[in-house]
Symmetry: C2
Subunit: 258 residues, 2 copies
Amino acid sequence: MKQLNIIKIGGNIINNPAVLTEVLTDFSNMEGLKILVHGGGRKASQVLKSMGIEPKMINGRRVTDETTLEVVTMVYAGLINKNVVAQLQALDCMSIGMTGADLNSIQSHKRIVKDIDYGFAGDIDKVNGKAISALLSANFTPVFCSITHNKNGLLLNTNADTIASTLAVALSDFYKVSLKFCFEKDGVLLDVTDDSSVIVELDKAKYATYKNENKIFDGMLPKIDNAFDALNAGVQEVFICSTNALKADYFKGTALVH
Amino acid sequence: MKQLNIIKIGGNIINNPAVLTEVLTDFSNMEGLKILVHGGGRKASQVLKSMGIEPKMINGRRVTDETTLEVVTMVYAGLINKNVVAQLQALDCMSIGMTGADLNSIQSHKRIVKDIDYGFAGDIDKVNGKAISALLSANFTPVFCSITHNKNGLLLNTNADTIASTLAVALSDFYKVSLKFCFEKDGVLLDVTDDSSVIVELDKAKYATYKNENKIFDGMLPKIDNAFDALNAGVQEVFICSTNALKADYFKGTALVH
């Protein structure tokens, strides 16, 4: 099996053009097969506001009504995704921008309403690993934004971390997948006030302990849960790290381990 | 050589959801290799207006300033292109949405300013026929919107008719290409007030005569010039016709001939 690198970058990187350019340069220099998954950043909210619409968030998650679905489709799949692709092409990376609708690559359903109605949010049902694999075999580099579809004509807003881990799991049937969730810090910190306190290896037992001791909390929890889900489902390697980890000579990061 | 159908549909079809659905159904039922190229429609102007910006047009062509470039990228490459792809996937057509940046498929340069400054308008330099051909060989159906790039990170707004004819010419190295420009009428009319007066075959001599006699004029002229350019550059078949011509049992249309 060939190696495949899947790199997730968050909205904070998208928001900062200088950082984004550096990250895309490092990504384009990575050898071998690779996929980029990017978050949305603040642009969708800016566009909504410029149209006189106040963005709605509950627990830090966007509520996607009909107009918001239009705007996130425009901003994520159009403006951001295609600008990322154009920048990668300028760096001679043979990229191709994707939503889950393209090649029916990621099929989802509209989230069932329990307590909170998130509107047009998509929960993933399946990945078309064969079609994505055909792109990779042609030495193309797919660049996914956080839009999927329900195979019935409806686009849906979908969490980018979940897209990255679901792609990694599905493509593990075809490749040895290394999955990196990149964010601002060098990894999961044992002490949030100390950037050098990166946990080098995190297993489930340690994770439970640190959670109980309140050393790991808040936004890190869904990120780590997502990462463990991928590892448990057969992904070869899963890291939580900074975008510096895309550089060949940089070895910091938290490895999730069994 | 295999047959390849390239179908261009205009903004009027994009503007009408019921018509668009019928057209996409007919397109998905077409046998063999195919590419769809779609125009923009009125949505970009609506989005600009909702942001308090008045769209600028000169001689019926959009002037693309920086904000307009953002909006057309969002609307053409995001909202419209991905909704078309999602609809085609619902019809089991294995579509993939494309700009010229994706796979460096259509490279252009920012139009040189002569009399009028159209801003971020792209004039096409070259097509990556090999990459598009790789998609077709995998039985994927590319769906192009009217955005290209300059291979230096800049996206550019580009006429969809020109994209269709340039793709047709470049792909004639690999396929027997049949190019159809679809619009509201059944073909080029000898009498604009009579929808049944379709010119069945149009050669350059007849075209010159009808132009002199003022029977063909206005917006039809660039469309026909574009179509003749494609025919002269080696495209097997070029038609100007209605979207009904996508139906297997419908034979009306104007064939451009040598």
